[in-house]
């Protein structure tokens, strides 16, 4: 499914320092029953955003008005562990987020993000702490994520760190391309390869 191109993003950010946030928190299994990809933002972090009676948990960062409209989420270490459900990445995107920053991501979640147009930015633990501290001190703290230059910067202080992404995935994100377009273009090569498989 097509997504908007990613270039340079400057935005405030939601802070979520809890570690090992799993995809069952990002979107609980009971909300995976759709057969179309629509409105996954509604149940994004459902059980952390809402009480069981449906009222919002006012202290949860995603519910705080001060952060509303942020396009970046800064998450704790090992963000997105657990289930392979791409619905988790869809819910991040549908909530209006284009970038998740963490000191470590779970592999499948990271892949899923890249495939749906959410940029996972892995930073050092120290830099993640710097970002959390800055947001806690000033909720309007802006972060600049520069994909062409692979650099993330705390706008107010200029503190920055570079991040890693392979050239292929970077080009995809910059241009809104996806893997299926690539794979369909080498269909002949794949067909020949398939003939060599014993089973």
């Amino acid at each position: 499914m097509a997504y908007d191109k990613f270039g340079v993003l400057t935005s405030t950010a939601y802070p979520l320092p809890t570690e090992n946030v799993d995809t069952d928190q990002i979107i609980p299994a009971r909300f995976l029953k759709a057969t179309e990809r629509v409105d996954f933002d509604v149940n994004f972090f459902r059980d952390w955003r809402y009480n069981q009676d449906g009222t919002p948990k006012v202290d949860f960062p995603l519910n705080k008005e001060i952060y509303a409209g942020s396009k970046i989420l800064v998450g704790g270490r090992n963000f997105g562990s657990g289930s392979s459900r791409e619905h988790a990445a869809w819910s991040v995107y549908d909530f209006g987020l284009r970038c998740v920053i963490s000191s470590a991501f779970a592999d499948i979640f990271k892949n899923n993000c890249l495939n749906v147009g959410v940029l996972p930015v892995q930073v050092s633990a120290a830099f993640a702490d710097t970002l959390f501290a800055a947001i806690m001190a000033d909720p309007k703290t802006e972060i600049n994520v520069d994909l062409p230059n692979q650099k993330v910067t705390l706008v107010a202080t200029g503190q920055s760190e570079s991040f890693v992404i392979n050239t292929y995935k970077k080009d995809n994100m910059l241009n809104g391309f996806d893997d299926i377009d690539y794979l369909k273009n080498i269909e002949g090569e794949i067909t020949e390869f398939a003939k060599t498989r014993p089973f």
Binding site: M1, P17, T18, E19, N20, D22, D24, Q25, P28, A29, R30, L32, K33, A34, T35, E36, R37, D47, Q52, G76, R77, N78, S81, G82, S83, S84, R85, E86, H87, A89, A104, F105, A106, D107, I108, N111, N112, N115, V116, N166, T167, Y168, K169, D178, D179, I180, Y182, L183, K184, I186, E187, E189, I190, F193, A194, R197, P198, F199
Partner: protein, 465 residues
């Protein structure tokens, strides 16, 4: 240069390497289920693509299915809609489909091996993180997202960077009451829930050599719970005995040819791993988790560690214990439980039911416990009956349900109520995993059985002597 099992299988499936990018990776076998495939088919159709190798994809309904009265129409309209979508998509694209009631139906990671679809040296993917299960046969198997499901349907390839390599050795003999589940929970507790992120694991050593195929599946299944992309074990005589003669395994000359290839699938002496860990079987006890990720596990007789004694975030740790309503220093033994769940792709196979029955035979389910016993497939149900285990189960006051993923992720009606404590043989103890507000203790079928008859968390060794 000496090669690893993982390198041999991975490298033989690379169609091409993208410069400073991932490998174009060919997939031999693709499993689909009702939850993560519908959007992939929508994408396929919206692009005007077709399923290029329908014979390489296999559909089974499992995540959403009821575990009682499967002969009746599925009552939940959303679940019914997903099950219909799977059936219709399979029919439209010529894919084999084992829906509710089909004799081959069951949890995808149980029915794949049962039907001989899972083979050594194959690459296997599914939109489910526990696809790592199939690594027990010397396959490279891992979970993928829905975008990748669409890639496999439309091109039979995905684009994957090659993971790093980790070997985990466990040597010696396991003690009384210590099962493959305990070995896995022990390793995960050592590695933490993210310790193997970025790696593909090979399990080696006496313990895995001695282990049954069912046990190897349990161990490989849980590889994802320490963050690993997958885990695998070199095929041996046990592997070949298990797969020989199953519905979809090669036959005759094809079998002989395949065997020649399979016998090359081992890690050569001196082959290099990026990291290696070695543990002793005698250090492993029956395990139980106390927190909200599978890395928060310990020997069942131990006390919950203090936050200060662990590396990592104290706040996250306390939030986790707060959710569980446990305190640092608590003993798990003797905690009153409300539910027991035996089943899932982790522990829903015949050996798990044998283990459970070995403890409940001649005993009675405790009155305070609600127990859900959910076999992984119809074939497992048949075997339970063939071996007379169903009678032991019934005599002990338990009820056998019908196959499916059930309370492992609680997408169907099998939800543990808020605040209730469950000893579960499944794979995840995340907050709300088994139903909103539910509290999960992951353990082996033996710990589950012992706790089910005593009504409190129980060391199975006290009932085995």
């Amino acid at each position: 240069m000496a090669n690893t099992l993982f390198d041999k299988v991975w490298d033989s499936h690379v169609v091409r390497q993208v410069k400073d990018g991932p490998d174009v990776f060919f997939i031999d076998r693709h499993f689909i289920h009702e939850v993560t495939s519908p959007v992939a088919f929508l994408g396929l159709e919206s692009r005007g693509n077709s399923v290029v190798y329908p014979g390489r994809t296999f559909a089974t309904a499992d995540h959403n299915t009821p575990t009682i009265n499967q002969h009746l129409p599925v009552a939940d309209p959303l679940s019914a809609n997903q099950l219909d979508a799977l059936e219709n998509n399979a029919a439209k694209h010529g894919i084999s489909h084992w829906g509710l009631g089909d004799e081959n139906n069951g949890i995808v990671h149980v029915v794949g091996p049962e039907n001989g679809i899972t083979l050594p040296g194959a690459t296997i993917v599914c939109g489910d993180s526990h696809t790592s299960t199939h690594g027990a046969f010397g396959a490279i198997a891992f979970g993928i997202g829905t975008s990748e499901v669409e890639m496999v349907l439309s091109t039979q390839c995905i684009m994957q960077p090659k993971p790093m390599k980790m070997r985990i050795n466990v040597n010696g003999k396991l003690g009384l009451g210590v099962t493959p589940k305990d070995v896995a929970l022990y390793i995960i507790a050592k590695q933490t829930t993210s310790g193997a992120t970025g790696y593909f694991v090979e399990y080696a050593g006496d313990v895995f050599e001695d282990m049954s195929m069912e046990g190897r599946m349990t161990v490989c299944n849980l590889s994802i719970e320490m963050g690993a992309r997958g885990g695998m074990i070199a095929p041996d005589a046990k592997t070949y005995d298990y797969i020989k003669g199953r519905a979809q395994t090669p036959k005759g000359a094809d079998w002989d040819k395949a065997m020649k290839y399979w016998e090359t699938l081992y890690t050569e002496e001196g082959a290099a791993f990026d990291v290696e860990h070695t543990y002793e079987a005698s250090d492993i006890e029956p395990m139980i988790t106390y927190g909200t990720n599978p890395g928060m596990g310990m020997g069942v007789t131990n006390s919950i560690p203090t936050a200060e004694s662990l590396e990592g975030g104290v706040e996250t740790y306390r939030k986790s214990l707060g959710y569980m309503s446990f305190n640092e220093g608590d003993s798990m033994i003797g905690k009153e439980i409300d539910f027991v769940f035996l089943g899932s792709c982790t522990n829903g196979r015949i050996e798990d039911f044998r283990g459970f029955c070995s403890i409940v035979e001649g005993r009675q389910k405790a009155d305070n416990v609600t127990a859900w016993l959910v076999p992984g497939s119809h074939k497992v149900v048949d075997q339970i009956k063939e071996e007379g285990l169903d009678k032991i189960i019934t005599d002990a006051g338990f009820v056998l349900r019908e196959p499916g993923c059930s309370a492992c992720l609680a997408m169907n009606d099998d939800k543990i109520p808020s605040g209730k404590l469950s000893v579960s043989t499944s794979n995840r103890n995340f907050e709300g995993r088994q139903g909103p507000g539910s509290r999960t203790l992951l353990a082996s079928p033996l710990v589950a059985a012992a706790s089910a008859v005593q009504g409190v968390v129980t060391d199975p060794r006290t009932l085995l002597v």
